[in-house]
């Protein structure tokens, strides 16, 4: 008789804690480094548009005149290529997912104007 081979494992499962959690009452802690969503730091972004060029799905738009950086989270595939390319490190991938939305919309961030660096004086240091 070679039936009931899985009996030991199935019987043992009765005394183990469940493999699943009672979501959304219990929410598992996302591991560090999980590709959740892209976040921009408006204070350091220089609107260089490298992220736009790298994005494989056209999710990012940069408007230099209006000084806005926009991302369509519904198009983004969380590949992270924009975060690797950003020369100022303004883009980071956070381990949390975007919240559920009823409508598709683009998240637009205003990039504040930064004061231009003062030109070097020729007589500086004299």
């Amino acid at each position: 008789m070679s039936g009931f081979k899985l009996g030991k494992m199935t019987f043992g499962s009765l005394f183990k804690k469940p493999e699943t959690v009672l979501y959304p009452v219990v929410k598992p802690e996302p591991p560090a480094g999980l590709k959740g969503h892209v976040e921009v730091d408006e204070s350091t972004c220089i609107l260089c548009s490298l992220c736009v060029k790298r994005c494989p799905c056209g999710a990012i738009e940069v408007d230099k005149k209006a000084r806005t950086w926009a991302i369509d989270h519904f198009r983004c595939v969380q590949c992270g290529s924009c975060t690797y390319e950003c020369p100022k490190g303004s883009l980071t991938m956070l381990p949390t997912y975007e919240t559920v939305s009823r409508q598709k919309r683009v998240h637009t961030f205003s990039i504040p104007e930064r004061p231009k660096a003062a030109p070097k004086r020729e007589d500086a240091g004299e």
Partner: protein, 362 residues
């Protein structure tokens, strides 16, 4: 002898994870011929190579298939690296091999669960998928993704793995091995499983060679071919590799081959981790593939040999990217396996080739 009747099977069928249509010609519950038809999930991904540059296409390549996603990104990256003459650091190659073997475990364990579900062993299906979660957790912690990993780039990999994480992976695999042996014992020795699988869907060695069958489907019919034995990339630095073979050629042999391949993959991962070289994980790749440059590559996906071809045109876009996936090789073998089987065994036979229709159609 009854009258021949044609029964349509699929494209939507409870046993099929992906759309495949079969016209089954049956006589008295015996299938005398099966005519497959695909074309329900064609997405034109190869054409996208004209509008996505060679760095961006890696994210398209890994979306060819949800199960062998890592394999496709690795196969594509290796092809472009050959095209551009890029030498990838040792550590990046070793990490790729580790993730690729982990994805083979996840693919095979998923498939074993689906096969158990097809022959009506529901609790075995759930235990298989429970074990697969452990591998997905490793992916989540090391790459940031569970199925689509986006961790390979042309020139290396984008994430490194530290020693603490290697220790965690070894510990998880050690625990997984013990539980997996119990599942494997059920699959290979339980009477109810044997009654459904032994002697069903036989494909002879000669037929398997004639139809160019690849992967575990071919190896279960005695075809001694596994791309890993060619020693491409870091596979060449591993200790001696022997493909797992069976000469029975039936559904049971295919389950057996895949069962043993999971243990083989765990051994390979343990070896890779113990011999993990230090150093960089990427090299900077500059310039574009030369006009007219061509490269070919083969990779052992969980389902079998996958062939890649790329041609450059001097711009950042490739002129042509072509993949020949294992299921497109194995569909012809499947029609042989289906000839003469009972109608009730069609489910098992289709599943034991592990069909990936999304790969095949791209």
């Amino acid at each position: 002898m009854g009258k021949a009747t044609v029964i349509p099977f699929g494209p939507q069928h409870p046993v099929l994870p992906e759309p495949l249509h079969l016209d089954l010609v049956v006589e008295d519950e015996k299938v005398i011929e099966a005519m497959p038809q695909i074309g329900f999930v064609h997405r034109g991904l190869e054409k996208l190579v004209e509008t996505r540059d060679y760095n961006q296409f890696i994210y398209v390549a890994e979306r060819i298939c949800g199960i062998c996603a890592f394999g496709h990104s690795m196969g594509y990256a290796e092809t472009v690296e050959q095209l551009m003459g890029v030498e990838v650091p040792d550590r990046a190659q070793a990490l790729r091999v580790m993730w690729h073997e982990l994805s083979r475990i996840h693919s095979h364990v998923l498939w074993l669960g689906l096969a158990a579900d097809a022959f009506g062993f529901e609790s075995l299906f759930m235990h298989c998928w429970r074990l697969r979660e452990r591998v997905l957790d490793i992916f989540e912690k090391t790459t940031g993704g569970r199925v689509i990993l986006s961790v390979v780039k042309v020139g290396g990999v984008v994430r490194d793995v530290d020693d603490a994480m290697f220790a965690y992976i070894k510990q998880v695999l050690e625990g997984l091995k013990d539980e997996y042996r119990q599942i494997m014992n059920t699959l290979l020795t339980d009477t109810s499983v044997k009654n459904r699988l032994v002697g069903v869907g036989y494909v002879s060695h000669d037929d398997a060679v004639a139809e160019s069958m690849v992967g575990p489907f071919g190896r279960a019919s005695g075809v001694n071919y596994d791309v890993r034995m060619l020693g491409n990339g870091w596979y060449g630095k591993l200790s001696e590799f022997q493909p797992i073979l069976s000469n029975d050629g039936d559904c049971y042999a295919r389950v057996q081959v895949r069962c043993l391949e999971v243990l083989q993959s765990i051994d390979i991962i343990e070896e890779v981790i113990s011999r993990m070289p230090a150093g960089d994980i990427e090299v900077k790749v500059k310039g574009n593939p030369a006009d007219g440059a061509e490269a070919c590559n083969v990779l052992e996906q969980p389902r079998g040999e996958c062939y890649y071809y790329a041609r450059g045109n001097g711009t950042k876009f490739l002129e042509r990217m072509r993949m020949r996936t294992p299921t497109s090789q194995n569909i012809a073998g499947m029609t042989i396996a289906l000839k003469g089987c009972d109608l009730a065994d069609v489910n098992n036979i289709i599943l034991t080739i592990d069909p990936c229709i999304s790969c095949t159609e791209r």
